[in-house]
């Protein structure tokens, strides 16, 4: 039991940090442009596939650097030549633009790399067990993932809070016109933020690619969970996104590792339930309902705290 708790906590924190790498970019982009980037998870997928392809040509370490830069450049281009054009048509058009973009990116990835998972391996340098707890080998690569996410989290925090660029970005979040009057190129700041946000998602993609499955449906699987994180944390709140990422990471990992069901707990009391149409609800295990846990959490949050955990504005 203790083993389960320790391992699940480690995995949960890891998954949560990965989620936060993406959710942070999404949140900052939302606060700035007022548009929820539907294609954000697609940049995560692009990161993973670019990482796979560049890793094949040049090795994993150059890929870790080049793939996010490439994806970030594409992201900046999308903002400059796509979103900025659509902006005058309103928020719905912007959201739909990113929606169409997510659709198109998935199709393009399918055309280039196919529908089946690609063979994206952990680099040999990190392919060893880091430590053994309770007879379980914990892979070093996962520790590396955790390290990268924490380092980027810290770097992001310091950049936003302590540097001049961070101050300008923060100011542009709330008072874009004033920042523009002070002589800063707000358009370029928006492009930069969009590029950095998508690059962060791509970093998550590169480091998650070998550990999870690199496949053309990975954006579609992760995208909705990402939105749950952003809404649960509170739209536009970076600390909220952090808390919600960890919460959902932990909830999902713990749920997957549990096998209990209603029939397991109360089965002996009324065995005849197992034969009625209630059998589905009666017999389903917690592990099986793990995929719907984030959405249940979302609905609960929306009923009881509509602005999100740490959100301030009631959009």
């Amino acid at each position: 039991m203790l083993e389960l708790i320790v391992i699940s906590t480690l995995n949960g924190v890891l998954f949560g940090m990965l989620l936060f790498l993406m959710a942070s970019g999404l949140t900052v982009i939302f606060s700035m442009l007022g548009v929820l980037n539907f294609a954000h998870a697609s940049f995560y997928m692009l990161g993973a596939f670019f990482g796979f392809q560049i890793g094949r040509w040049l090795g994993f370490w150059p890929a870790l650097l080049i793939a996010p830069l490439l994806a970030g450049a594409i992201g900046a281009g999308v903002e400059r030549y796509g979103l900025r054009r659509v902006h005058k048509n309103g928020h719905v058009a912007e959201l739909l633009f990113t929606f169409g973009l997510a659709f198109a990116i998935e199709e393009i990835v399918q055309i280039i790399w196919g529908k089946s998972p690609v063979d994206f391996r952990v680099p040999p340098l990190l392919d060893f067990p880091a430590f053994t707890i309770f007879s379980t080998n914990y892979p070093a690569y996962k520790m590396f993932m955790l390290l990268v996410s924490v380092v980027i989290f810290a770097a992001l925090l310091i950049t936003l809070k302590k540097t001049r660029i961070g101050l300008i970005v923060q100011a542009a979040l709330t008072h874009p016109h004033m920042v523009g009057h002070l002589g800063h190129n707000v358009g370029r700041i928006f492009m930069l933020v969009f590029g950095v946000g998508t690059a962060l998602a791509a970093v998550a993609g590169v480091i998650a690619g070998p550990a999870l499955v690199t496949q053309s449906n990975m954006a579609g699987l992760l995208g909705p969970i990402l939105f749950v994180v952003v809404v649960v944390g509170g739209l536009g709140s970076l600390p909220g996104a952090f808390v919600a990422s960890l919460l959902i990471g932990l909830v999902q990992t713990f749920a997957v590792s549990m096998n209990g069901s209603l029939s397991g707990a109360f089965g002996p009391l009324s065995p005849d339930y197992a034969t009625t149409w209630l059998a589905d609800i009666w017999g389903v295990t917690i592990a099986q309902i793990a995929p719907i846990m984030p959405y249940v959490l979302l609905v609960l949050i929306l009923i009881f705290r509509p602005m999100g955990l740490l959100g301030t504005r009631d959009t």
Binding site: L95, L96, A104, I111, G114, P224, F227, W277, I292
Partner: protein, 433 residues
Amino acid sequence: MRDPISSAAPPYPAVAEKFKFYGLWVAAAIALLVLPKLFSSGGSLTTFSLIGISIIFSLSYNILLGQTGMLSFGHAVYYGLGGFLVIHAINMIGINKLPIPLPVVPLIGGLTGLLFAVLLGWVSTQRSGTAFAMISLGVAELIASSALILRTFFGGEAGISANRTKLLRVFDWSFGPQIQIYYLVAAWTLIAVVAMYALTRTPLGRMCNAVRDNPERVQFVGYDPHVVRYLAFCFSGFFAGIAGALAAINFEIANSAYLGAVQSGTVLFATYIGGVGFFIGPIVGAIFVTLLSLGLSDLTPVWQLYFGLIFIAVVVFAPGGITGLLMMHRPLLKAGTLSKVLPSYLIAFVPTLAMIAGLILAIETTVHYTVNPGDDSHIKAFGVNFDAASPYIWAMAAILMIGGFLVARKTWTWVGHAWDEATSMTREEGVAA
């Protein structure tokens, strides 16, 4: 003294206008009746049935997006649940020999959609805008994932099926042949379209528009925008349920794809491409998208990519959709200045078409190398044969794309100038835009 109500109310429509209005519906009904006589093959009947279902679904979606300004990413939930309930209902009616004929069964789907919209809508519609979009997405994922867990009801991956011919017969119609299903779908399409049009003319329909445009002002007037959005959501769920029921009857099966994100995305594409600003927009969009998806899938294996690109192009260049583009020209037509812009259109279309052709050529050659690299390089796309390995083809694709883009950009600015000129002339003639 004049009666204040009569002066505030709009003028009563003239007889000619009324005649035109009702004539339009009668003409639509006659067209639906005659259509299978003109195109009587089984394939076209199936296509017409699919278009009819898609029209109801898209119009129900437009109650949300176009009329009330709520962008939903999970409209397929009500469509899918309507479909599932109808399949169960058909099975149940068949087994118990209940005196319910098939033509009224879609109503069961509609009521299912309504029920779930009533249940889920109150929480969903508390806010509009981005929050509503995210909630609808979350609810849709919740229902779609649950459908795979609750296997007894939803039948897991395979879905559940029914036999539509085993119900009570009226006028000896068995609803086995596709032609009878076509007439069923056509009748329900007409009923639903009339009902949804009538809905837009009611005070509720007007309040929906007001909530879309300025919810704060609606509050000042004394309405609760949340309640208005909720009512619109319920109506929308009802008609989506009817569409899902007709789809389930048409295919005699309901599976988890009915509820999924792809279905929700397709209805969004159809509605938006058609145009959300006009009542007829979703109808045009449903016809266009259904024909496009059936036609393109025969022509090229990567039709979904083209589909996505068309959608992006509409969002970027024509936010009003197809009908929005056409309706833009109405004042010009009335003032007779349309001839000013048409020549510049013709000039602009040539390089634009060249650019699109180059893009298609580039996509198809890429697809050849990535999807089936081992095959013969002489491929066929859109009915045209060419050699994907030939450097001439590559050069041609590049020239068409880059050259077309450069020239097209130039010509579209001319179109812009011609357009400005024509509209200013129109304004001088005093025709309201």
